[in-house]
């Protein structure tokens, strides 16, 4: 039986309480949003690219089975073994099976949100394997025994001083060192050993091309390439929705992905894999884990357009101030607030409400997912499923009743204005309203507009028209 996670407002409040840190976090991400703006505004065809990408995704998701089977056929012809997994458990068993059949002890892994979704690391470690994340940010959170707080910048919530202290403890760097170059070099040397010792490399997949059976992995650190070039065994884990029909479609996404993610024209490495290396093996594990169900849902299908660029997180005023961990989910932020409640509504009830419906995410999204409209829609879905708190439902039933009856509305309005005028300055009243804890309540006038209008425009009431 699923249980509710700690609600977003509770965790967000904790994050916001450290105001300096919350500001620093907000500004770090806003800096990336600004870099993204420079790139996006530098391409006159930007909006056209977004529209094209959305169309390609829509087409691919609508013909998912056909393209996946075509991909399997072509990939198999290239010497790749393709596996199908229904859920996270099956995915992890498949990966473990491949690793065991090769007697693998040590694995290096490049960044893959899908393996985070499946909690692959703890699963493999539980079965006695060493798994090392080779993306710098992911290695930092791994050494801290944490989960990533952002899908592109996993350690965005950690300051360089904290990285220095962590590396000093785990990697033996000088105490008190905070120079990013020095720390990165230390991580590089540490990871180099891990690469050399590894028996297998695991990567994610950014794009799988049905036409060729090839996959594309985008990184800035080249860690995916190294991780699958030294060991003979490459396992690539991908969600079903990563499929695109043709090589010609790839350019559209590569132009959008890095610009949206980090404000770079393109990632440093866009690595194409078309089959195993000489004398090696390559496996692709295709994971459903609820995706097919979303693909069949008219209201939420477009959520599968997501290319995991993280732009919605960087732009979200709530995410920037509450931190990724406040979402208690592998994919946090706006798109995570859609994907997680779709899969397990009870656990993630608070996420669709962790949003002011400002719409910035939908405008920034390179594949035109109407994220904030989906969040809005999800709220009524949760209500329909009975997952909205009774207190809130009662409150809304009550105001709804007032708004259906103009006389009751006027009486309620009078009572609200009266109590605000009399008690609005009282600490207890302010505290009870929640609004008044950090904000003054409005001090309403004696006369409503309706009353003013009765007196000043006596003949212009609606009934006389």
């Amino acid at each position: 039986m699923a249980t509710r996670n700690t609600p977003h407002p509770t965790l967000a409040k904790r994050f916001v309480a450290d105001r300096d840190r919350a500001h620093w976090h907000d500004e770090s991400l806003w800096f990336i949003r600004e870099k993204r703006d420079l790139q996006a505004h530098g391409l006159p065809e930007w909006e056209e690219l977004r529209a094209r990408a959305a169309q390609i995704k829509k087409h691919s998701v609508s013909n998912l089975a056909e393209y996946l089977l075509q991909f399997e056929k072509r990939a198999t012809a290239l010497g790749v073994t393709v596996h199908w997994a229904n859920d996270a458990e099956e995915h992890n068993q498949i990966v473990l099976g491949i690793l065991r059949s090769h007697g693998v002890k040590r694995v290096v892994k490049s960044k893959s949100m899908l393996t985070e979704e499946c909690h692959l690391n703890p699963f493999l470690e539980h079965h006695g394997l060493e798994v090392v994340d080779t993306d710098l940010g992911e290695r930092i959170v791994q050494l801290r025994n944490e989960s990533p707080s952002h899908i592109v910048i996993p350690a965005i919530h950690i300051r360089k001083e904290e990285v220095g202290a962590l590396f000093s403890e785990k990697l033996g760097t000088e105490t008190g060192a905070t120079d990013p170059k020095y720390l990165t070099e230390a991580a590089r040397q540490h990871l180099r050993q891990k690469f050399l010792q590894a028996d297998a490399g695991i990567t994610g997949v950014n794009f799988a091309i049905a036409e060729t059976g090839g996959i594309v992995v985008c990184t800035n650190e080249g860690n995916a390439d190294l991780g699958v070039s030294l060991p003979k065994l490459h396992i690539a884990c991908m969600g079903l929705e990563k499929i695109i029909p043709r090589v010609a479609d790839l350019g559209v996404f590569l132009r959008l992905l890095a610009r949206s993610a980090t404000g770079q024209p393109i990632t440093t490495y866009s690595s194409h894999f078309h089959g195993p290396m000489y004398d090696g093996e390559m496996h692709v594990v295709l994971l459903d884990n609820g995706r097919v169900e979303v693909a069949q849902d008219d209201d939420f299908r477009e959520a599968l357009n997501c290319i995991r660029c993280g732009a919605c997180m960087n732009t979200c005023p709530v995410y920037r101030r509450s931190g990724g961990h406040s979402y208690s989910a592998t994919v946090p932020g706006p798109i995570g607030s859609v994907l997680n409640p779709l899969k397990s509504p009870l656990e993630h009830t608070s996420l669709p409400f962790a949003c002011s419906l400002c719409g910035s995410c939908s405008d920034v999204c390179p594949v035109q997912i109407p994220i904030h409209h989906q969040l809005y829609q999800l709220r009524s879905e949760l209500k329909r499923q009975g997952n909205i708190k009774t207190a809130k439902s009662l409150q809304m039933w009550f105001v709804g009743m007032l708004f259906r009856r103009p006389r009751l509305y006027r009486l309620g309005g009078w009572a609200a204005r009266w109590s605000l005028r009399c008690f609005g300055k009282l600490a207890a009243f302010r505290w009870l309203t929640i609004w008044g804890r950090q904000r003054d309540l409005p001090f309403p006038p004696r006369v409503t507009f309706r009353k003013w209008h009765n007196k000043n425009r006596p003949t212009d009431g609606g009934r006389h028209v």
Binding site: S360, V364, V399, F403, R421, P444, D460
Partner: protein
């Protein structure tokens, strides 16, 4: 032309002066024969809809149609309430009502697109920070959002720019949300207030003397923080500025407990 005046519930109750200013502006237009105000208006239903509680919406949507059926245009001094009517009501109404929903316009949108409004000699010699209310900006398209790549335009800004003596300040984050968000302001109080504080700080660093917006709800939230912190930064709805009002002091009138 007959205009129906659509007044949001919280403006009716808390900020009647905004509705009065709106009415005056509409009445001043040559081509407008009549501005009528249906007295049985309550609320568009946004608080419930944003909370996922849609049960009352068919009723509210049908009441809206009945109240305004004689209007050529329905004008409202709130982007958010107009967005609710224009984007959401269609789910609860017959298709015959759709033209009416399309004829429901936010004030600055009506003034720019339909009225070709000119401010004439109206003066407003202040440094003004224009807050971009999200639903007006991104749902109604009153302007080009900073995320998108296209020709820059902004309807409220183009109106304000006509005022004599006005100086519109440049913000560091031109269209970040203030953090009101309806029930969000209470459900996510901590984040909401931090967002509000950050917006205010941006207007302060730009040396704005007044903050304005097309939505009084954003301003109510910002004003609540401004007032609690005893800052000197009055807020005014765009209708009040266009109607030639002068900035109010931040000190509220200390009346007694006699409402109604």
């Amino acid at each position: 032309m007959k205009i129906g005046l659509f007044v949001p519930c919280y403006i009716d109750q808390f900020y009647p002066e905004v509705a009065v200013a709106t009415l005056e502006i509409l009445e001043s237009l040559d081509f407008v024969e009549k501005v009528f105000y249906p007295k049985e208006q309550t609320c568009c239903g946004q608080p419930m809809a944003n909370s996922g509680c849609n049960a009352d919406l068919p009723n509210l949507a049908n009441r809206f149609v009945n109240q305004f059926k004689h209007a050529d245009y329905i004008v409202c001094p709130s982007g958010s309430c107009v967005a609710m009517v224009r984007m959401q009501y269609r789910n609860y109404l017959e298709t015959s009502a759709l033209p009416m929903l399309r004829a429901t316009l936010e004030l600055s949108e009506f003034l720019v697109d339909i009225a070709n409004y000119e401010c004439g000699d109206t003066k407003f010699p202040y440094r003004v920070g224009l807050h971009q209310s999200c639903h007006g900006l991104r749902e109604l398209g009153l302007g080009q959002s900073s995320e998108r790549n296209g020709i820059a335009f902004n309807k409220p800004r183009s109106l304000l720019q006509q005022l004599r003596g006005i100086e519109l300040v440049e913000l560091q984050r031109s269209d970040e949300c203030c953090g009101f968000g309806g029930t969000f302001a209470v459900d996510e109080e901590a984040v909401s207030c931090m967002m509000g504080e950050d917006r205010i700080a941006d207007h302060q660093q730009a040396q704005a003397e007044i903050i304005t917006a097309v939505d009084m709800s954003c301003l109510m939230h910002l004003d609540g923080i401004i007032s609690r912190k005893s800052l000197q930064l009055p807020v005014m709805h765009i209708a009040e500025i266009l109607a030639g009002r002068v900035p109010k002091s931040l000190v509220p009138d200390q009346g007694a407990c006699d409402g109604n």
